[in-house]
Symmetry: C2
Subunit: 146 residues, 2 copies
DNA sequence: ACAAACATCTTGACATTCAAACTATATCCC
DNA sequence: GGGATATAGTTTGAATGTCAAGATGTTTGT
């Protein structure tokens, strides 16, 4: 089915392009913060966890980020040195820590979140309200498929 | 405008989520290839360049990837050792090389491209033909805004 | 209470990355 | 043409990121 295939190829290309652009946008934004992208990514995940399901343990955070706990140990060490986040003992499991943002880290997260909102506004500026709702609906389906 | 704002916040969150999922999907796929994600990314850019505008110089490739030329030198060294791509002298500028895929590299690129197509098919499986076309149209606008 | 499983940290070995210094070539300007 | 300047790529040194394997302390199941 060549017609169908060609539509898939087009969409695939667009997804790659979107990904590339988001990636380089994020790199540019992060560059001005003094952190590496990996460090900012950690801040983002921890910050999001704080909104959603609460503080994460090292293991869960590592899994979510796709790295080993050994990698995460030094990452958290560095961010803790910069007072952006902190380890607090798990209440019932003394092997575990819960990783949470400090006030300073929360501030950085909020600031970065604002950048995301601004980017989203920019890239949806040409869409009508209906198109935005539609885009959102399709994204929900697409994300659900992954 | 809180209603408008809330829609933007939702879209922003969805974009982040899409990005995260694409990212971890790519990591999983690449893991089984023996290359790092950065190396596969290089293969992808060079491969795409080959379709579009022809072979790239080191400097252009570095810019496209958001790394310094120093970083790219060792990246290309490694990929050349693995015979996935090669430097060829620039015809008129003897300071420059043109970076191109070898046959082996082209094979890897094609294989990876197939993975992308398959993923795209999967994640659009629940969309009707109209929704797909609509999604594609919105993506085009969005990408154009970046 | 004891063994097995678990969560984290530490260590050692590489890979990745950048900025800055360096080499070779190209371009500009007189 | 020829010297000054700019550019392309490489090399170097230092910091960061990464993993696998082993060590330590904790929890769980029996």
């Amino acid at each position: 089915m060549p017609a169908q295939m060609s539509e898939t190829a087009k969409l695939s290309h667009q997804l790659v392009e979107l990904y590339e652009k988001l990636s380089s946008w994020e790199q540019d934004v992060v560059k001005n913060s003094g952190l590496s992208t990996a460090q900012m990514h950690t801040i983002e995940i921890v910050g999001h966890g704080a909104h959603g399901g609460g503080a994460l343990r090292m293991k869960d955070l590592a899994k979510k980020m796709g790295v080993t706990t050994g990698t995460l140990t030094v990452m958290i060490d560095r961010l803790e040195q910069q007072e952006l986040l902190k380890r607090t003992p798990h209440e019932t499991d003394r092997r575990s820590y819960l990783i949470a943002l400090t006030e300073k880290g929360q501030g950085l997260f909020n600031e970065h979140h604002q950048y995301h909102l601004r980017l989203t506004e920019e890239i949806t500026a040409t869409l009508s309200t209906e198109e935005q709702a539609l885009f959102s609906g399709v994204l929900e389906k697409v994300i659900g498929q992954m």
